[in-house]
């Protein structure tokens, strides 16, 4: 892929990833964030974070299934945008929803499993965001860096679980995210098993 095409693609990711935030800001400006704006903004930020995280996890399956490898160059950008939205989601919870009522929030983190897993997912993403620079990849070395970044599978799973547990049981939307994640992780698992089998066969021969 040409350098120019890669830049165009990255600009497209920036535009797509920033659109939900722009819409919220526009809604704030126009006073059009539903009649329960804090709840609405929290939900939109959370869902966008989950979507971007799933998008970042969809690139490797594209390579595995169809041999298309160029989208992988967008992975870091999508992952970082997902992290940005997770942080905004968390900040809205602290500032707008609870207005720095640390005691109530602390109680919630301990008492409510869906909040526990949500905060855990956020914490797991911190080292990944911190080591996302090219310099950090070099410093850690490819093998260690890849191992560390497998934490994203745990974070995404906790994120999906966070949504399932917070929503009423009769709603299907959270299960759609969980199902997509299961497919994306399943494709990786299938590939890992296939590689393992391939590696073992020559040894047996």
């Amino acid at each position: 892929m040409s350098r120019r095409a890669r830049i165009a693609l990255k600009i497209a990711v920036w535009v797509v990833a920033l659109t939900p935030l722009a819409r919220l800001l526009y809604g704030f400006w126009m006073d059009d964030l539903t009649v329960n704006p804090i709840e609405y903004v929290t939900r939109e930020l959370g869902e966008t974070a989950l979507r971007l995280l799933l998008a970042s996890l969809a690139l490797t399956p594209l390579r595995i299934l169809f041999g298309i490898s160029w989208p992988v160059t967008l992975r870091r950008l999508l992952g970082l945008f997902a992290f940005v939205y997770v942080c905004l989601h968390f900040a809205v919870w602290i500032v707008l929803d609870h207005f720095f009522d640390w005691r109530t929030m602390g109680d919630d983190i301990v008492k409510r499993p869906w909040i526990t897993v949500g905060v855990t997912a956020l914490l797991l993403l911190v080292p990944l965001a911190a080591t996302s620079t090219t310099g950090m990849i070099k410093r850690l070395g490819g093998v260690a860096w890849r191992r560390l970044h497998r934490l994203v599978y745990v974070a995404a799973t906790l994120g999906a679980l966070h949504y399932i547990w917070l929503a009423k049981k009769v709603l299907i939307q959270p299960w759609v995210y969980a199902a997509v994640l299961a497919v994306l992780l399943g494709i990786r698992a299938g590939e890992a098993v296939r590689k393992l089998a391939k590696r073992r066969r020559p040894a047996l021969a």
Partner: protein, 312 residues
């Protein structure tokens, strides 16, 4: 403070009122469309009621626009915007309410009869949703007791069960889905008979000086201000007196989260969130939730001796 509906009535409602007038005009010259429009008073048609100063919370009422566009009414759909968007499919006329069970004079009431059974009052109640948000709403109706008296409950009657209309043609949310249903239709709710006869329990046919909008439970619903909102069944077609505690829709869906009583109680958490605070719609900071939603003086005695952490 005097509430002026002109301040808070959205243009949409004015427009539907205009349609009513056009419909009435057409009815005069004998056109079918006109007759149909005249048969069902659209949401927004004015409804006269006498304000009852004894039942009036001090806080300012929520804007009508908020109260008619932010609704939990899963018969239309699970999103809060669904009921307002899809409300047109519900036909609140003709409408009958069957009142039966353990009573001497069971009867099926026509909605027009219900509207005239007792003087309509306006009461301004606080509404606390189980999801920890709240509103203040001027309802129009009269005590449910007035209706129940008509059928003469038998001494064996201990509970009242409310049933909401089940008709997927009018309620798109009731259509079977490949992903499984949302709730078990029809929606049923229930009260102990003494709760049902309590003067606060309001048989409701209007709000904000107008006929009850479809998305708020037209043509007739119940309002029980000291309980979480879902207890207040909407679009009621049957009221049954019974000796056994009725099965209720949300209790069937998630028994550990929604009890039969579901009294507003800041000391009993929902398993997934604290009920200690609530967000009043249009306010920024959370406010403290009051025991029995602020109606403790009037209803606490109904639950004397009960462990409300167990009978939640």
């Amino acid at each position: 403070m005097t509430l002026r509906y002109s301040d808070v009535t959205p243009e949409r409602l004015y427009l539907s009122r205009r349609e009513l007038m056009v419909g009435a005009a057409l009815a005069v010259i004998g056109l079918d469309a006109g007759r149909e429009a005249a048969a069902a008073p659209p949401a927004g048609a004015p409804l006269k009621a006498t304000p009852n100063a004894a039942y009036r919370v001090a806080d300012a009422p929520t804007k009508i626009e908020a109260a008619t566009t932010y609704n939990n009414f899963y018969e239309f759909g699970t999103n809060k915007e669904d009921p307002a968007r899809l409300a047109g499919s519900l036909k609140p006329r003709p409408w009958h309410v069957q009142v039966d069970g353990l009573c001497a004079k069971p009867k099926t009431f026509d909605i027009e009869e219900i509207l005239k059974l007792a003087p309509l009052e306006e009461r301004i109640y606080a509404l606390r949703c189980v999801e920890a948000w709240s509103m203040v709403i001027p309802w129009i109706g009269y005590p449910l007791a007035a209706l129940l008296k008509q059928v003469e409950p038998r001494p064996g009657a201990k509970y009242v069960e409310f049933t909401t209309l089940k008709d997927p043609a009018q309620f798109p949310g009731q259509k079977p889905s490949v992903f499984g249903g949302s709730l078990d239709w029809p929606y049923t709710e229930g009260l102990r008979l003494d709760e049902a006869l309590h003067p606060l329990t309001l048989l409701t046919v209007g709000m904000y000086g107008q006929v009850l909008p479809n998305q708020n439970g037209a043509p007739v619903r119940i309002v029980i201000p000291w309980k979480y909102g879902f207890k207040s069944a909407k679009s009621i077609v049957r009221i049954r007196l019974t000796d056994a505690e009725p099965k209720t829709a949300w209790n069937k869906a998630a028994p550990q989260e929604y009890g039969f009583y579901s009294n507003v109680n800041p000391t009993v958490d929902h398993p997934r969130w604290s009920q200690g605070t609530e967000r009043r719609i249009s306010e920024f900071r959370r406010r403290q939730t009051l025991m029995f939603n602020g109606y403790a003086d009037q209803v606490a005695s109904l639950y004397a001796g009960m462990d409300l952490t167990k009978q939640y």
